[in-house]
Symmetry: C2
Subunit: 273 residues, 2 copies
Amino acid sequence: MNRTDDRPVTLVDEHAHAWSPQAARARFREGLTGPTAGVAAGRTQANLISVPQDWAYDMLLFCQRNPKPCPVLDVTDAGSWSTVLADDADLRTDLPRYRVWQDGRLVDEPTDVRGYWRDDLVTFLLGCSFTFEWALDRAGVPIRHVEQGRNVPMYVTDRQCRSAGRLHGPMVVSMRPVPPRHLDAAIRESSLLPAVHGGPVHCGDPSALGIEDLGRPDFGDPVDAEPDDIPVFWACGVTPQAAVMASRPPFALTHAPGQMFLTDARDEQYRVA
Amino acid sequence: MNRTDDRPVTLVDEHAHAWSPQAARARFREGLTGPTAGVAAGRTQANLISVPQDWAYDMLLFCQRNPKPCPVLDVTDAGSWSTVLADDADLRTDLPRYRVWQDGRLVDEPTDVRGYWRDDLVTFLLGCSFTFEWALDRAGVPIRHVEQGRNVPMYVTDRQCRSAGRLHGPMVVSMRPVPPRHLDAAIRESSLLPAVHGGPVHCGDPSALGIEDLGRPDFGDPVDAEPDDIPVFWACGVTPQAAVMASRPPFALTHAPGQMFLTDARDEQYRVA
């Protein structure tokens, strides 16, 4: 697997945190690309995966059986590019960048998938950890990759997901370096948002997840940690892409890692208490 | 719709709160019946619905689209009567009482469904509000129906669930009368357990949910409230049975309302923080 991009990325626009989700989608529809961490403060971002209807039950069951990496926010009817999460959105055009998969191989990374669309595609929108970054930020937890203008680093782990029908594969995690004095807040604030991955799956030693080198993420960018920072790992919505690679459905569309769908939903509505 | 039973019920056994889930399942397998509120303290109880494989995607999507009434804890492979939630359990025999549905009509209420089993049945186990009663109890909230030795009262509301394929129907709620000084704790404690219906859907006036008479529940038993008690309504796992009545799949099996499946899972593992 390769990183999304060889260059360190910068925020798509210095004012992007203040954009409305409608404005963000409009700009991405016009062709703007880049990671969406920090875009449209307080609005829920989502991972996307579309599979042929014949694979939809396996995918929905895979999500149910692996709710930490795959918390489902919405599932469309077959062929539909609309979602209840954003009335005016077009799921074929409104993400910064997509990935096109054939038989488990990445074959294209377009900014628009109207040319690949099929009437039998069922689209899954899954919670994204960018959502809880606002809660972490409000609680005073530094978000290193945002400070450094990079995409969050993501790693394929040695933990296998619970399989569902023909779908199987490893869990993918995102990592944020957290200063020890902020660890409690990071765990508490993310745990209160179970629909966007919830609390971390692991804190500390990366080798416990089979990760050899934090400096070489499988997706996204490496991030610089301060000396005392502890690496904290959250289940990641790129997990279905790892399942696509491992399970090789004939066709799938996904977002490009870190380049998410901006919904109209407010993060607060996913907070449990 | 009729109440489950015309008689006020009593706890299935005065020592049932101390039973292990294994012991509870063994007794129900031997033929003991009755509501399971208060049985096997701290162990997670589950609603059950089995549908033919042809209806499984609609049911799983119905659950995803209506997570408050239908929080999925496990889904079996077609034909299997095993669940990861209880290694030695047999889902065909281990509940106190079942309901058998044909074309949306209730046709039998046996204590064992081996004679009705089909190789194409997919079984859904959904979170149950009996789970958060222990958390409410620990927080000092009185549980009136347990104090009175009755089944919890359940009501069909005028709120329609979001439909999924061929499945549609109204939301069902359970009701507990809560003293005003305990309302905060009841809301907080249940909200921290989103996998078992989470926080209430409504507090106060029953007519806001289209409920005309709290004394005449659609399922379970009426419960006596103290003068200042406020009726608090939680989404209920009997909702799929209302969807079966409204949508008329050719065949379905469910638990009898209030007579749940006892899992080995501990309530604490569903607590988010």
